[in-house]
C-alpha cells in the first residue's frame, strides 16, 4: 500500500470526523454564548450555578467525560449513539472554554458603554444585543478559531468509543497491513490538512485583533 492509498483509506473516516465536528459546533457555540452571557449578567445564586456548570464541563478531563457519559448513560436508561454522546461531550467541553472568551470580551468593554445605553433608556437585553455584543464579538474570534481547532482534534477521541472516524480507520488499516510508520504518519498528515488552514487563519486574525488572548486551551 502506497502512502496515498493509506491516506485515502484514512479519509474514508472523514465524514464521521466532520459530522462530529459539525454537531459539536451546534452544542459549543450556543452553549458558549448562553453561558458566557449568563456569567456576565447574573449575580448571586444564579451566577454560582452557571459557574459550576461551566467549570464542570471545562475542568473535567475530556477523556473521562467522554467515557463517563458513553458508558454510564445507558444505566440511567438513556441509550444514545456514540456520535450523539461524542459530539455533545466534545461540544460542551469546547463551549465551556468558549464561554470564557465571551465573558472576557464582554467584561473588557468600557463601562461607559452600558452606562450610555442605560442613560438612553435602553433595557438590559437591548444594551446587551445592540451595544455590548457587537463590540465584543471581534475580540472573541481568535479564541473561537483556536477552540474550533481543539474540537477537530478532539474528535480523534470518538475512535475510543468505536466510531469509525479517521483515527479508527487508521487502526483498521494497521490491522490489514503492518506498516505503522506509514499509517500513523499519514494519520498525522490527515489531521494537519484539516487543521492547518484554521491555524493559519487563527494566527492572522490574532495578529489583526491583537491583545494576546490567554484563554485558549488544549483539549
Amino acid at each position: 500500500m502506497s502512502f496515498l492509498d493509506v491516506l485515502s483509506g484514512i479519509f474514508q473516516g472523514l465524514n464521521v470526523t466532520l459530522a462530529v465536528t459539525a454537531l459539536g459546533m451546534l452544542y459549543a457555540v450556543p452553549f458558549a454564548f448562553a453561558a458566557g452571557i449568563a456569567q456576565h449578567c447574573w449575580r448571586g445564586l444564579a451566577y454560582g450555578a452557571i459557574t459550576t456548570l461551566i467549570e464542570f464541563w471545562r475542568s473535567t478531563s475530556v477523556v473521562i467525560l467522554l467515557y463517563g457519559f458513553y458508558y454510564t448513560l445507558p444505566s440511567f436508561g438513556l441509550r444514545l449513539s456514540g456520535i450523539t454522546v461524542g459530539s455533545m461531550v466534545l461540544g460542551l467541553h469546547i463551549g465551556a472554554y468558549g464561554s470564557q472568551a465571551v465573558r472576557g470580551a464582554l467584561q473588557s468593554l468600557d463601562k461607559g458603554q452600558s452606562e450610555a445605553g442605560r442613560s438612553l433608556g435602553l433595557r438590559g437585553w437591548q444594551i446587551l444585543m445592540l451595544i455590548e455584543l457587537p463590540q465584543a464579538l471581534l475580540a472573541m474570534v481568535p479564541t473561537f478559531i483556536n477552540q474550533f481547532i481543539q474540537l477537530v482534534k478532539g474528535t480523534a477521541l470518538v475512535s475510543l468509543v468505536t466510531l469509525t472516524d479517521m483515527t479508527f480507520r487508521a487502526k483498521e488499516i494497521s490491522q490489514l497491513v503492518y506498516d505503522p510508520p506509514k499509517i500513523y504518519f499519514a494519520l498525522l498528515v490527515a489531521y494537519f490538512i484539516l487543521c492547518y488552514p484554521a491555524t493559519i487563519v487563527g494566527r492572522w486574525v490574532e495578529r489583526k485583533v491583537g491583545a494576546g488572548r490567554k484563554l485558549d486551551h488544549a483539549v
Partner: protein
Amino acid sequence: MLFDASFALSIVPKIVGALWTSILVALLSCVGASLLGFTLEIARRSNRLMRYAMRFLIDFIRSTPLLVQLYFFYFVLPSYGIKLPAIAIGVIAISLYYSGYLAEVFKAGIDGVKPGQFEAARALGLKRLQTVVLVIAPQMLRNIAAPMGNYFIGIFKSTPYLAAIAVYEAFGAALDISSDTFRYTEPMVVVGVIFLAIALVLAWLVRRLEEHLLLSAKR
C-alpha cells in the same frame, strides 16, 4: 442500583494509588514541555531559515491531535528498534504536544520584555546565552506564569489519554475496575471527581499567583 456508594468508596484506594502515576507523568511532562517549548522558541528566533522551519514545526504539532501523536510514538518507535516503556512514550508525546503551545506563550513573554533590556545586556558585554538565562528569562517568567500554569493544568488533565496506550494511571485503573466488575458509573464518577477537584484547586492557585504577580508588578 444506579450508584452504589459503598462500592464507590471501596475503589477509591485503587484509583488514588494509580493517581501517583498520573501525577508523575504530569510533572515530568511539565518539565519536558517547558524545556522543549523554550528551545523551540529560542530556535525560532535564531535565524531566518530556522524561523520558518520552527514555525512550521510548531504549527504541525498544534494542528494534530494528542491522541494521534501518542499513537504515532507508541506504534512507530518500535519499528525503528526503539523500545521504551509506555509511560515514557506518554511523557514524550504530552511534552511534545504542549511544547507547541508553550512556545507561543514564551514568544509572548519574550516579546513583552522591553528592547532596552536586550541592549543593556549587550552593553554590559553579556553573551547570548547569559542574556537569555540571566536577563530575559526572569522577567519573562513573571509575565507568563499564569498562562504557563493553565497549560500545566491542561497537561494534568491530559494524562488520562495514556490509558489509550495501556499505561496504568488513575483513569486506566478506573477502566480496569469497570471491565472487571461491569460497572461503569462508580469508577467514572470517582476518577472524574478526583481529576475535577485537583484541576479546580490548581486553577485557584494559578489565579492567586496571577493576582500576586500583578500586585508585585505594580509596586
